[in-house]
């Protein structure tokens, strides 16, 4: 397995690469009239260089390993966000709120249905009153 710093460098190298790739067509320009690409290229280049140094330093023997990562929790929280986005656009704020609470609850081992139901109902009521009715945010009930 790779060391923590190697992975840390790799991740940021990928970020630099992705942004550089999308911005590759931007004009570099001259110092007097810098093009839109001037700064992005410098920043992406700098990020790539520093990340590479970190990766190399992570290759040294005895570099600390990555601690085990949770998978279920990040996935569930992401799903909650996606559900919120989809439901808010197509159904309404109440359904979106309930979905977030339930999906959050599903990511823990010992969840209690009564508690989840109470939180879901309470939050839906709060969101409905405070944000939709009172603050009039542009979302459907």
């Amino acid at each position: 397995m790779f060391s923590r710093d190697f992975l840390a460098g790799l991740m940021m190298l990928l970020v630099a690469g992705a942004l550089f790739f999308d911005g590759r067509g931007l004009e570099f320009g001259t110092p007097e009239m810098m093009g839109p690409g001037f700064f992005p290229f410098l920043a992406a280049g700098g990020l790539a260089l520093l990340s590479t140094i970190l990766m190399v330093s992570g290759l040294a023997a005895g570099a600390p390993r990555l601690e085990p990562m949770g998978v279920r929790a990040p996935v569930m929280v992401i799903l909650a966000g996606v559900a919120f986005a989809v439901l808010l656009d197509h159904v309404g704020a109440l359904a979106a709120t309930v979905a977030v609470v339930v999906l959050c609850a599903l990511s823990i081992r010992d969840f209690r249905w009564k508690e989840v139901a109470l939180v879901a109902i309470g939050m839906a009521a709060l969101v409905g009153f405070l944000f939709v009715y009172f603050l009039q945010l542009p979302m459907a009930m």
Binding site: L19, D22, F39, A43, L50, L66, V77, V100, L137
Partner: protein, 500 residues
């Protein structure tokens, strides 16, 4: 001089202390606190929404209420930062670092009280400083040109070397990443989209609220769930609600230093307010006898930046009222409110509308008293919130985050973006990166780029402008010195480690 000041103050007092204006100031401060506590619901949106209500009010009353909302929101933003690691406004990002650490150590009450008292002290000092020097100071900031702003922002950015919690290499990587991410969006000069991956939602850049709430708030939830700590409560024992005399004595110098920093930087356009809280944090860490405590619950790490934040919020009124030049979006909105009232903000406001100018100055002090009255009793209530099990609290926080991210552009895209940053934030925690330099570079990046490009455009490409302006020359020399010293220290530490 003093006679004039007393006359001015009495004009202000008679304007600010009318029963109607006192009530409006209270309503504004309360409303501001509430929206500040709700993550993402910013002061810009609230003030815009309330603008038509103020049409019927006299100009001074309208401004007093809107100003109350503005600094109330600044104040409320730190509450969620301390309690659940959720920065409500850009300026409270830095409060997350030590405020949340204090909360986890069972000292949430103290942290909240320090924030409240720090803001109050800053408010009082700033009110008087504005009365004495406000207009003179504005003229000074007006003379800062593009090269000077560039130099100032560079110096601010390098301060991350001081304030970062991770290794210098990793801090620089975060800085570069923040810089790169800040360039996503429409190029200022050519109006060309940059690195937007063809998404129109990114044409205005990455939403700061989505990014900061994702990196701090959502990633914290993921980390807690992933480590199976969701059943626990954030803190079991709450020792005391108010700081002891000893803690206060320790925090007071930090608050005063923060006030000074906030007052000056708050007047600068753009990132001034945010820069002031970051700079105050860096200064406190530098002067502290225990810099290792920073990030683990240092009292000065909350007191200083909170004072700076509030001082900056108040000082940002000065350029608007004395020059007609708003320094941020809220001030631009205030300028709009004044125009609707038939008052053109500009240099003549102080002389032609003394009751407006001095009324606002005095009402700032009144507003700070009210904020203290509103917030100190609430601390007990907020702290009780931490006794709720995390598995109940987390979904609530997540719902507020989602709505907050949505409400910035009324777009669900920002909710998805926040989730992506939440996962990135979790990865950063696991990979031992500190996201603070990333956020600071994200805020300062556009200012650095914009001012550098403009400086060179105006000088026809000659880099000599950065040395010709004395302010920029001094600031850039300081930046170079900072890098050299930091590198030397880093090198010595490494050699010592090898030798040892």
């Amino acid at each position: 001089m003093f006679d004039l000041l007393i006359t001015n103050f009495s004009i202000g007092i008679s304007a600010a202390f009318s029963p109607e204006n006192l009530l409006l100031c209270f309503v504004g401060a309360l409303l501001g606190t509430l929206i500040g506590v709700l993550p993402g619901i910013g002061s810009v949106a609230t003030i815009a929404m309330l603008l038509p209500i103020t049409f019927g009010l006299p100009p001074t009353s309208a401004m007093i209420m809107l100003a109350g909302i503005y600094y109330g929101a600044h104040y409320g933003g730190s509450t969620t930062a301390i309690l659940v690691n959720l920065p409500g406004e850009a300026s409270s990002v830095i409060t997350c670092l030590d405020g949340y650490a204090l909360a986890r150590a069972g000292r949430a009450g103290e942290a909240l009280a320090l924030a409240a008292i720090g803001s109050f002290i800053a408010g009082c000092v700033t009110t008087f400083a504005i009365a004495f020097f406000g207009p003179a100071l504005t003229v000074a900031t007006q003379w800062l040109g593009a090269p000077d702003y560039f130099a100032l922002m560079v110096l601010g950015l390098l301060a991350v070397i001081v304030l970062s919690r991770c290794s210098m290499l990793k801090a620089l990587i975060m800085l570069m990443a923040g810089f790169l991410l800040s360039m996503v969006g429409t190029d200022l000069i050519t109006a060309e989209p940059r690195m937007t991956f063809g998404l129109p939602e990114l044409s205005d850049g990455i939403s700061f609220v989505s990014m900061s709430m994702g990196l701090f708030g959502v990633s914290e939830i993921i980390a807690n769930y992933a480590h199976g700590t969701e059943g626990r409560i954030i803190t079991r024992k709450i020792e005391r609600l108010l700081p002891s005399r000893k803690v206060m004595r320790e925090a007071l110098p930090s608050m005063l230093r923060g006030t000074g920093i906030g007052m000056f930087l708050g007047m600068l356009p753009g990132g001034g307010g945010v820069l002031s809280s970051f700079c105050s944090y860096a200064v406190e860490k530098k002067v502290s006898k225990h810099p290792e405590q920073f990030g683990r619950g240092a009292v000065a790490g909350v007191a200083g930046p909170e004072a700076a934040n509030n001082a900056g919020a108040q000082a940002s009124f000065i350029p608007l009222l004395s020059l007609g030049i708003p320094s941020n979006a809220v001030m631009a909105l205030m300028g709009g409110a004044l125009l609707i009232q038939g008052i053109t903000p500009g240099p003549h406001v102080i002389t032609s509308q003394p009751e407006l100018f001095w009324g606002i100055v005095v009402s700032m002090w009144v507003g700070n008293v009210m904020l203290l009255i509103i917030n100190l009793p609430l601390i007990g209530l907020w702290v009780k919130l931490l006794a709720v099990p995390y598995r109940v609290l987390a979904p609530m926080i997540l719902v507020f985050c989602c709505i907050g991210a949505f409400s910035v552009h009324n777009s669900v895209f920002d909710v998805l973006l926040m989730m992506a940053f939440g996962v990135l934030g979790y990865l950063l925690i696991k990979l031992e990166y500190d996201p603070t330099p990333l956020l600071l570079a994200f805020i300062l990046g556009p200012l650095i780029e914009e001012n550098l490009r403009r400086a060179l455009q105006l000088s026809d490409g000659s880099p000599a402008v950065f040395i010709e302006s004395p302010i920029s020359a001094v600031l850039l020399s300081l930046s170079v010195l900072l890098i050299v010293v930091a590198l030397a220290l880093d090198f010595r530490a490494r050699r010592a480690a090898v030798a040892g």
